[in-house]
Every structure is written in structure tokens, then in C-alpha cells.
Subunit: 258 residues, 2 copies
């Protein structure tokens, strides 16, 4: 009798889980973010080349926290106060700042124990947008922390938005590719019904056996070539270098406590 | 000597052609259309399920012209003047109008020789948008006229935008799929550098061997299922049923003269 009750309970729990699966949606560019209601959701901000990759790596290498800011002027104020500041626009490190947006800059020697202020062309704006829209939880995703992030997100508590930073409001390939990697692993835990998720997953399926080669055809990789930025794109598709998940707490990104 | 000159001339011409290839870009949703400069370009409006498919089919079946309008109120004025009017919102034919948006409605018996007024959820708005942005040429694309359209566009004279209507400003799978079919065939004639085109082509590569099956996973196909709309989606991916290319001339879509 106890056994029957147990099975019945398990069946009910499973059914309950199925019926209450939260939704997962992919936002392909910030230009369409207003079409989605992020309030009370979990938002994973994705800017593979390079903001969220570099932020994951900086925290992995011992940075105390990251303060994302939208405007260069704001970053400049922090610089004058003595903060270590990363400032990038159009792929290029701005003059006078300690860092650009290359992950290779954020080595333990340069970041350990520091609070780093960060402003970039696309990624930092999405973090602010998710905050303005009152997301419940804001995390950063990159290939560097993919598996850790999947484990975290498979404990589905809130509706999930994978928020691709794109390039100047336009769609980009590398963020969509990463969104697809998440979709492919999270189908059992979420209700996925939007076309953006389907497209992202299909792109991931095409690319997954050789991410480095695939990401070469992204327009931002070609921009790197023109700028003489070597090695960043291949590094940004390296899988699972860290278990660190950056989470926005107040105005700062810190290592998510597990 | 004459031969040498000829070869030299051919080489120059080829180089000239290469250097002056116009650009091709895919606009994935109307929400980001403002990021592109359509002035002086050729714009192919794509709303596979179902506006541009139905419009192609209506002109193929002998409709004299199609008058696209944005608002139902405007369509109502035409109806009162005695025009045959197609009016759809959210997949459903509006009450009191002659047609909805199903291609099966636009048979020769119903359309031959007629001017048909058309308002739909997504497609007609994009036609107006391209007109407002002063595109040089506005054409309609669908799988029904794919090869005819590719032939037309391979005579590349203007920068080309493939303008996906999407669903209520969001990305959709079926329009992107069609954009990918165009990209796959037009690489030799255009400079293609945007990530949207790359993604669209990759989706087309995945889908091309069974378009009907692929399009089933589009959210709009699932909407059709819920609404009991049977057969429309499979029809809308049928290839090359017509050589007709609808072109906007003034306020009317007519069969493009070749």
C-alpha cells in the first residue's frame, strides 16, 4: 500500500513538474527586448565576443567583483577614483583605460582581489536593460561556464530569457549559437515554444562539432581580423574552463554562490 | 592583338563586376528595420505563412492587382465601395470580409480580373514600411515563386534586403527559412556579410530536404493546428508553382513585367 502510494505520488509529482515547467525564450537582439516581459524572470545575458566571456574569466581569475556601466563617461568617473576600468567600443580598447574587452587581459596578476569597472559596446547595456525590467535574477553566460550554467538553470524556478547582446542592436551569430547550446540542454526543464529558440538550437547543431571554425564566419570575427585581434574568438568558444557563474547583486557582478 | 584586348577587357569587366557587387542583407523582423537604410534598394517582402504566399497565388490565378492596406478600418472603406477584401488578424479571417489569408481562397473563380484589397497581421505592414523608406523596388517572395525570384534577383542592380515579416515584430522560422533559400542561391551575385544571412542559410540547409516537415515546428504552424487551419502550411512551402513576381507599383501590387 505504501509502495502504491509512493508510485502515485511520484506520478503526480512528475505530472506537476511537467505542467508547471517555466518557459524558456531566446531574445535575439536588444532591439526586440521590449517585446518580452522580463519581470520576475531569470535572464542570462550573452555577449560571447567578448564581454560576458571576459567577465566570467575575470571572476574566475579572482576579481572581487565587476561593476558594469553603460557610458564611457561613467567609467571615466570610476577611473578617476582609482578603479581598474575596462572600456571598449567597436572592438577597440579606449585610450587611457586599464583594459579593453579581450579575455586575455583579465589574468590573475591583473585582476585578483580587484573590483573592475566594465563598459562595452553591447553586453553591459543588456545587463542594465534586464535590471531595469526587474528581472528576478541576472546571470552571465559564456562557453567558458556552459556546463555550470546548464546545471544551475536546470533547477528551473523562473521563466528564463536568454538575452543575446548582438551587435549594435542587430542579430549576431555567436550569441545565438550559445543560446542554442543552452536550449539543446534545457529542453527537459522548460517549455520551449518560440521560433528563436528553435533557430538557435539548429544553428548550434550545425556548429557544435567545431565551434571554433563556425564562429570564424561571424561578422565580429571578421572585424577582429581587420583590427588585428588574434586568438580572442577561438578562446571565447573554449568549453568549461570555469564553474564560475557571474550574478548581478545590486550594482555588482559577483561569483554566484552555490 | 584584338584577342588580347578582348581578354583584358573581360578581365576588367569581371573585376569590375566583383568590385561592384551590391550587398544582400536579411532583416529578421520589422522591429529592427530601422537599423537598415532601404532607400534606393530592392526589398523582397517575405511573409510565408501566409500573406506573400497568398498574394503570389492570387496574382498567379488572375487577380488584376492587390491593394495592400495596413488597417482594418481602411480595408472596411474599400469593402463598402464594393472591393473584394481579404482581412486577417491573428490567423483568423475577420467577419464580413470576402477572404481571410488562406491561399486556398484565392482561386481563379474568386479572383480572376479583380482588384483585391489585403490587410494582414504582419505582411502588409512590411510592404508599407519598405515604401515609406523609399525602396527603389519592392517585390514579394514566397516558395511558390522562388526560382523566378532568384532569376530576377540574380540580375543584381540595387542593394538587396530580404525583409522577413516575422510575427508581431518577433523573429519567425518560416520567413528566415525562405530568406536562407534566397541567400543560398544568390551568393555569386551579391556581397553577403551579415550574420542574419549566414544564420538564415544555415537554417535553410537543415530544412531544404523536407521543407514541409521543418515548417511544422514553426510556432505559426502550431497556431494553425490550434485554429484548425489544415493544409495551409504544407501548401506555403510548395516550390515554384508560379513564375509570377508581385511588384509594388504606386499603391498596387501587380505582376512584374519581365
Amino acid at each position: 500500500m505504501a509502495k502504491i502510494k509512493l508510485n502515485h505520488q511520484v506520478a503526480l509529482d512528475k505530472k506537476h513538474t511537467r505542467m508547471t515547467k517555466p518557459s524558456l525564450q531566446v531574445i535575439l537582439t536588444p532591439a526586440i527586448a521590449h517585446l518580452y516581459d522580463m519581470k520576475g524572470s531569470c535572464v542570462v545575458v550573452v555577449d560571447i565576443l567578448r564581454a560576458t566571456t571576459s567577465m566570467c574569466f575575470a571572476l574566475h581569475n579572482g576579481a572581487k567583483s565587476i561593476i558594469p556601466v553603460q557610458e564611457v563617461e561613467e567609467a571615466e568617473v570610476y577611473r578617476l577614483k582609482g578603479f581598474a576600468v575596462a572600456a571598449e567600443r567597436n572592438g577597440i580598447q579606449l585610450e587611457g583605460f586599464a583594459f579593453g574587452n579581450s579575455p586575455f587581459s583579465f589574468t590573475p596578476a591583473h585582476v585578483k582581489g580587484k573590483e573592475i569597472v566594465f563598459t562595452t559596446t553591447n553586453g553591459t547595456k543588456c545587463i542594465q536593460k534586464a535590471k531595469d525590467e526587474r528581472a528576478e535574477k541576472i546571470l552571465l553566460g559564456s562557453f567558458l561556464n556552459l556546463d555550470a550554467l546548464i546545471e544551475e538553470l536546470s533547477n528551473a524556478q523562473w521563466p528564463l530569457f536568454i538575452f543575446c547582446a548582438g551587435w549594435k542592436e542587430k542579430f549576431n551569430l555567436e550569441d545565438t549559437l550559445f543560446a542554442g547550446a543552452l536550449v539543446a540542454s534545457l529542453r527537459d526543464y522548460y517549455t520551449i515554444e518560440d521560433d528563436s529558440s528553435e533557430a538557435a538550437e539548429d544553428i548550434y547543431k550545425i556548429a557544435k562539432d567545431n565551434l571554433e571554425q563556425y564562429v570564424q564566419k561571424a561578422s565580429h570575427s571578421k572585424r577582429f581580423d581587420r583590427l588585428g585581434i588574434v586568438g580572442d574568438a577561438p578562446f571565447c568558444v573554449k568549453l568549461n574552463l570555469t564553474r564560475v557563474i557571474p550574478e548581478l547583486v545590486g550594482d555588482r557582478l559577483i561569483v554566484k554562490k552555490t
